[in-house]
């Protein structure tokens, strides 16, 4: 009984750790990749003006089904970080999205 409790608490403790570590982004559509590349340069340049262009592009791409909702959510999260002034996080996340598409 005592062993079971220990096992259970260990699993319970490790689950959030596993979840928080994340598994990266899966393969995305070519359009999402293109947008993430643009997002990287937008965040690198801290360009509010071009950020709006990218935002519009995400919406139109979703409407035309060039990207799916999950991809739009990822991109919008990056846009939200940038809009909140956290350019560094947004840059790193856009980079991570691109990096995760490589076969390294």
């Amino acid at each position: 009984m005592r062993n079971r409790t220990i096992l259970f608490s260990t699993v319970l403790f490790q689950m959030p750790l596993l979840l928080s570590s994340g598994c990266g982004y899966p393969a995305v559509s070519p359009k999402t990749y293109e947008i993430s590349k643009a997002l990287y340069s937008v965040c690198n340049q801290k360009s509010k003006e071009r950020l709006e262009t990218v935002q519009t592009l995400i919406q139109s791409s979703l409407k035309e089904k060039e990207i799916n909702e999950r991809e739009a959510d990822w991109l919008n999260e990056i846009v939200a970080s940038a809009n909140a002034g956290d350019w560094e996080t947004a840059t790193l996340e856009a980079r991570r999205l691109m990096e995760d598409q490589t076969g390294r």
Partner: protein, 360 residues
């Protein structure tokens, strides 16, 4: 007998005690290991920086002797794509014999005069007479952090098969360092064409079309390109503001100190949505972008600094965490962040575009 048995019993560890000790030791190792790895990477980084410094000094010694920096690579000069048979002109790129690169030219200035003398520079770099010396492994061209290998590699053709010259495979000594062609690239896309788009202004995004006729100098705005003869006075942006050399780990693609072989291709070692094989010049050169009017979907020029996640074989790539080393024109070596301002990276790559360079 009973007493001694009891004594033995009290001397031993219980299983719990043993596990606790193992756990403590494991925790200590886990704490210590990252520190050890960091120290080792710091040493490797230092070695890499020193290699680039040696190359930078050699470049300056070469300039002192020849009144110009060496060419990116040497190729038979043709303005119409034709020439003698010995030149072996590649009809696609107009790359030709002898193909020797900037790296070979620096050998006498890096205590490698015997190797330099062993090479017959009057013959093509792929000539049978040069193949043995061309495989020499030179530590000064090897970054210890590069995980893709440091042994000589087989030169490949467009399909990825070994390129054959005179029926022989070519195995060239490796280099983890590349020379900067500038913002533009003039190899596969426009090497042989009579016209090519030239991105002259990264701010206004305007392009102009020029007639090339095989003369890469009309497109390249960096210090090294096919048959370049860049002099110190040509670097009007300032030698301390211009990137001359940088890293390219063999984890991404094979580079060499030996030569550019007509018909050869550089192939990426791992895939990305945008990378693929590129023309022979990328065996020794890289560029910063944008090239030929390349813009992203928002109309911004595509610039790819060190470790840019498109992972193109024609860009700089380092396995040091967070960025890579570059050797500036003045011989100084700097560590540049992979998140450097994109326009600044483009500015640092050209020799005479007149940009005002900020801090980096």
């Amino acid at each position: 007998m009973n007493l001694s048995h009891q004594q033995l019993k009290t001397r031993g560890f219980t299983l719990i005690e043993l596990l606790v000790v193992i756990a403590i030791i494991a925790t200590l190792i886990a704490l210590l290991l990252p520190a050890v790895q960091q120290a080792r990477e710091a040493a490797r980084r230092s070695q890499c920086k020193n290699n680039l410094k040696q190359l930078g000094i050699a470049l300056h010694n070469y300039h002192d002797t020849h009144s110009s920096f060496p060419a990116g690579y040497y190729s038979y000069g043709t303005s119409n794509g034709s020439g003698p048979a010995w030149a072996a002109i590649d009809p696609a790129t107009w790359d030709a014999a002898p193909g020797w690169t900037w790296g070979t030219m620096l050998l006498p200035y890096m205590d490698q005069a015997p190797l330099y003398n062993a090479l017959n520079l009057n013959l093509p770099c792929w000539d049978l007479a040069n193949l043995s010396a061309a495989q020499t492994k030179l530590p000064v061209f090897l970054c210890p952090s590069s995980s893709g290998g440091d042994e000589p590699f087989l030169v490949q053709d467009a399909s990825g098969s070994p390129l054959l010259k005179g029926g022989s495979q070519l195995r060239f000594g490796r280099s983890h360092y590349v020379a900067s062609h500038g913002q533009e690239s003039c190899w596969g896309e426009c090497g042989s064409s009579t016209t090519g788009e030239v991105f002259t202004n990264i701010y206004t995004k305007t392009t102009k079309t020029v007639t090339i006729n095989g003369d890469a100098s009309k497109v390249a705005d960096g210090p090294f390109f096919r048959n370049s003869r860049t002099r110190m006075r040509d670097v009007t942006d300032g030698t301390s503001n211009t990137i001359f050399l940088g890293e390219h780990s063999s984890k991404l693609s094979d580079k060499t100190w030996v030569g550019v072989v007509p018909g050869a291709f550089t192939h990426p070692q791992f895939t990305s949505p945008e990378n693929g094989p590129d023309a022979a010049a990328t065996l020794a050169l890289i560029h910063a972008g944008p090239s030929g009017g390349e813009l992203d979907i928002t109309g911004f020029p595509i610039v790819h600094p060190v470790n840019f996640p498109t992972y193109h074989v024609g860009q700089m790539y380092s396995e040091h965490t967070g960025g890579g080393h570059v050797c500036m024109g003045d011989g100084s070596v700097r560590f540049v962040s992979e998140n450097i301002d994109l326009l600044l990276w483009a500015e640092l790559s050209s020799i005479n575009e007149g940009e005002v360079i900020g801090e980096f």
